[in-house]
């Protein structure tokens, strides 16, 4: 199969944009995050008036629960947006997403194995296991896709990711079938939700997200260089292997932690960088911070929407992003941006 990179022209080359482009995009981003955060605190499956929320009384607890949820949504959304942008830049693959490339499935398998065979429980253990699983998955998927003369082409990476996800999830189901506890824990975690998490989780994970986020932003020039292609980047004096390793580490840190905290939330990392790129081009110095902000806004809006769409029950954020993301993914495939 001959996959040419011609379809990726728009990804490879930072497009020159007017100075007003990014400024507007940042302003819209801030406004959107703000609106999303306020909506996430005020709206829910139970309609409570704002005044009741903010005064002492029984509804005060609801406010606290929603505040935790909003904070976690901000962190997870930021991480997923950044991870997606880094991934698409690193692999020069417009279909890259932690869900599609099998990272979520790897994290899930590691966590279910931990619950069932190591008998672990609790947040710290899940985070460590999730990170290990995410790391193993990304290395495996890239190694498999990278074999061969034409290297890790978008189509090969996507299929390798899907294959890894299929393999990992059949092992996950296998463990769950034998182990009732693992099934009960996992079926709630696996759906991807930011609701009902303790405040401790936000406090524990915030530093990891912070480190990962700052590292990602620091790597924006590196990603720009990598986007030129390995030979070009080497010509500019970059150690491409070291650079790739660093970016890969950041992706694993961000996607693995987000997955451990909220379960697999797919498609955020796919949609957000694409939308940002259409507005401001693919200069990673803007693409990364904007993807972070719009990622947070998307997760919060999707989560809020999921709370009000079918009252009194909730549709988890992972489902909502899939509902939005699958048509988007299909559109990308149909438009043939991959040079198929």
């Amino acid at each position: 199969m001959a996959v040419t990179t011609t379809g990726l022209g728009r990804l490879d080359r930072p497009r020159s944009t007017s100075a007003a482009g990014p400024a507007t995009a940042y302003a819209v981003m801030l406004a959107l995050v703000l609106v999303a955060a306020v909506a996430s605190v005020l709206l829910g499956s139970r309609l409570i008036s704002p005044s009741a929320l903010f005064h002492d009384g029984p509804d005060r607890t609801v406010l606290e629960v929603r505040a935790v949820r909003t904070a976690l949504g901000l962190l997870v959304g930021t991480a997923l947006g950044l991870a997606g942008a880094c991934m698409q830049g690193l692999t020069r693959n417009p279909l890259a997403d932690p869900g599609i490339l099998g990272i979520n499935a790897g994290a899930a398998l590691a966590i279910v194995l931990g619950i069932s065979y190591l008998g672990v429980g609790g947040l710290q253990a899940y985070v460590v296991l999730g990170l290990i699983g995410a790391a193993v998955a990304s290395v495996a998927v890239h190694a498999i896709a990278g074999i061969g003369r034409d290297g890790a082409t978008p189509a090969k990476l996507t299929v390798a990711g899907a294959a890894f996800a299929a393999a990992a999830s059949s092992w996950t189901v296998a463990v769950q079938l034998v182990d009732q506890t693992a099934l009960d824990v996992m079926r709630r975690w696996q759906v991807g939700s930011i609701g009902g998490r303790p405040w401790d989780m936000v406090v524990t994970l915030a530093p990891i997200f912070l480190v990962g986020g700052l590292l990602a932003l620091a790597l924006s020039r590196t990603l720009n260089a990598l986007a030129l292609g390995d030979e070009m980047a080497q010509g500019l004096g970059r150690h491409t292997t070291r650079d790739r390793l660093l970016v890969g580490l950041v992706i694993v840190l961000l996607a693995g932690t987000a997955t451990a905290a909220a379960g697999p939330i797919a498609f955020v990392g796919l949609i957000v960088p694409h939308l940002v790129r259409t507005r401001t081009g693919s200069d990673h110095r803007h693409l990364l911070p904007l993807s972070a902000g719009y990622g947070a806004a998307l997760v919060l809006l999707a989560d809020t929407l999921g709370r009000v769409v079918l009252p009194p029950s909730e549709v988890q954020v992972g489902i909502m992003t899939a509902i939005l993301g699958v048509p988007f993914f299909l559109l990308l495939v149909r438009r043939g941006r991959m040079g198929l």
């Binding site: 990278g146 299929a166 393999a167 092992w171 696996q190 759906v191 198929l340």
Partner: protein, 335 residues
């Protein structure tokens, strides 16, 4: 003259491979029925089969071992044929019903019927079949073509949506219902009934001859849509054949649940046995042998626990998938 000798040599090799597969099939069936925790001798087997009542033995053979083995064969034939057919028509070893969302469509519909509509038994099977057909139609329609990677990628996307549906339904149900629904997530032969076998056998008796008639166009189709059209085989023939493949998959899933990766593994194994040529017959036989062996392992791997067969095929099939991908990438033959 020389090419003729090579051609006959290849034909002989294929005949030997088919005969070998046939022998492996008989051996695997015999092993599954006669060996295990309760062994039978061949004369005993035939005496029971022809109606002689031997205490305990008759019951074990007729109610557990034989139905499991027959079901394994039927499901294996259906999935092996469907897998080979898909890979042949779509000219891509990854384009099996497992990967492009057909099995997951059936799963999602089955889980929906069990958990949301509260249906049981046959009604759920009907839902699963409808689900498989509808989802394949969606994939085919969105992809707009049967060539290249596009259909596989669309299938991957739709499969992701189906996984989300299943996880949403599982997360909001109680533990007892979830246990019932898991049957639609992992293929199993653990509670096979003779009537189910009858229905599946009937479906195969209709679908396989139909396929044999339609499949006479296949060597032309494998050249690609354009070449096939040049040879007078229309695009609708491809779609008709795909529909038969979908129905075969759906019938197998409705009877035993989505037994992971059997459809996917059968095609490439059969193809390498046949010296690089696609063969539906070889694919069907490989599927049946895989099912029999996997079910044997599932029944006796862990003492006193009978695993669902889908666990074994999934555990073996996942690494096989990755290996195939790595090998295809190494030889530049992924597409």
């Amino acid at each position: 003259m020389n090419t003729l000798t090579v051609a006959t040599g290849r034909a002989r090799r294929r005949r030997v491979a088919l005969a070998g597969l046939g022998a492996a099939f008989v051996a695997a069936f015999a092993a599954r029925v006669l060996l295990g925790d309760y062994t039978f001798t061949v004369p005993d087997f035939f005496r029971i089969l022809f109606g002689e009542q031997i205490p305990v033995s008759t019951f074990i053979l007729m109610e557990t071992k034989l139905p499991r083995a027959v079901m394994a064969v039927l499901v294996g034939l259906a999935l092996g044929t469907a897998g080979s057919l898909f890979q042949m028509l779509l000219r891509n070893p990854l384009a099996s019903p497992d990967i492009v969302g057909v099995s997951l469509g059936a799963s999602a519909a089955g889980v929906f019927a069990v958990l949301t509509l509260g249906l049981r038994d046959d009604a759920v099977s009907v839902f699963a079949i409808v689900g498989a057909v509808v989802i394949s139609g969606v994939v085919r329609w969105v992809a707009g073509t049967t060539g290249g990677y596009r259909l596989v990628l669309v299938g991957v996307g739709v499969a992701a949506a189906m996984v989300s549906v299943v996880q949403y339904l599982l997360a909001r149900s109680n533990t007892y219902d979830v246990q019932l629904a898991l049957r639609w997530l992992v293929g199993s032969l653990n509670s096979v009934q003779w009537p189910t076998i009858g229905v599946l056998a009937l479906a195969l008796a209709v679908l396989l001859p139909l396929l044999a008639v339609l499949a006479r166009a296949l060597p032309a189709l494998e050249l690609g849509d354009d070449a096939a059209a040049g040879l007078g085989v229309g695009r609708h023939r491809t779609d008709l054949l795909l529909l038969v493949g979908v129905l075969l998959t759906a019938a197998a899933v409705a009877a035993a649940g989505p037994v992971a990766f059997v459809a996917f593994m059968s095609g490439p194994i059969a193809r390498s046995l046949m010296g690089g040529r696609h063969s539906l017959v070889a694919g069907a036989l490989v599927g049946a042998v895989l099912m029999l062996l996997a079910d044997y392992v599932a029944a006796y791997l862990i003492p006193n626990t009978v695993l669902p067969v889908g666990i074994v095929t999934g555990a073996v099939g996942g690494p096989f998938l990755l290996w195939l991908l790595a090998r295809g990438a190494a030889t530049g033959r992924t597409g």
